[in-house]
Symmetry: C2
Subunit: 138 residues, 2 copies
């Protein structure tokens, strides 16, 4: 069990997370945001803090084929994100925390037809949210 210090860089990072609580972000996003705010902080500091937050379960970590960087998603409420599925808008990156019950008997069907037990915490359904659907195509 390690002691945990409150430091200026760490606070800045957590502040960023809370401000972007329902969107994914990358290490670079944080770097850019904080450094354009006047502060200066190092890449390695960000990576080390993000890693710690992942282990603590406050952060979900995943990768996306379109983005050449690890994506992170903050979950303020310590909400056992490793137990339920997520859905993500492929345009804006917004993440939704799904109720596993929404699958109905799909999980059973996948087991019987394909022989696979779903790992809910790692499954991410990809789609387009209503907001982005309304926008004109680029």
């Amino acid at each position: 069990m390690k002691a945990e210090y409150k430091t200026k860089p760490r606070n800045a990072i957590i502040e960023y997370l809370k401000k972007h609580a329902d969107t994914r972000f990358t290490a670079r996003d944080i770097l850019n945001a904080i450094n354009s705010d006047g502060e200066e902080l190092d890449r390695s500091t960000i990576y080390r803090n993000l890693e710690r937050l992942c282990k603590d379960g406050q952060l979900v970590k995943y990768k996306e084929s379109d983005i050449n960087a690890t994506c992170y998603q903050y979950s303020e409420e310590h909400c056992s994100c490793h137990e339920h599925m997520h859905a993500r808008c492929e345009k804006c990156g917004k993440v939704f925390h799904l109720d596993n019950k929404i699958l109905g008997d799909t999980a059973k069907k996948i087991q019987s037809e394909y022989g696979l037990d779903i790992d809910y915490g790692k499954t991410v359904i990809v789609g387009i949210c209503n907001l982005c659907k309304g926008k004109k195509k680029a």
Copy 2:
């Protein structure tokens, strides 16, 4: 519309894909396999060919948080992989092509409850296949 030439490196790559038709692989996997076969071929050649195959729809491309490289999955049958969901075993990497119907009314529920239209081609359900489940834990 570009012409497409048959070349020795390209053939070697496609041969590799067919030999590993139901497992994921990385650019490095191909490089190692082919180069240990006596042939010599360059990284950039592999990346350029894989990219072309992705655009042609013969290859699915995704990333995994555990692996520090892009993963690819070949689908021999030109099977419009961008139209149906996939499931993947998180242990062995085996990919299953799902029938979208398996979701039942889940897609509708996700739209009504969360306001998200599923992008089937990009959605990958993660789990553990029966084979891997049988194995002892590492």
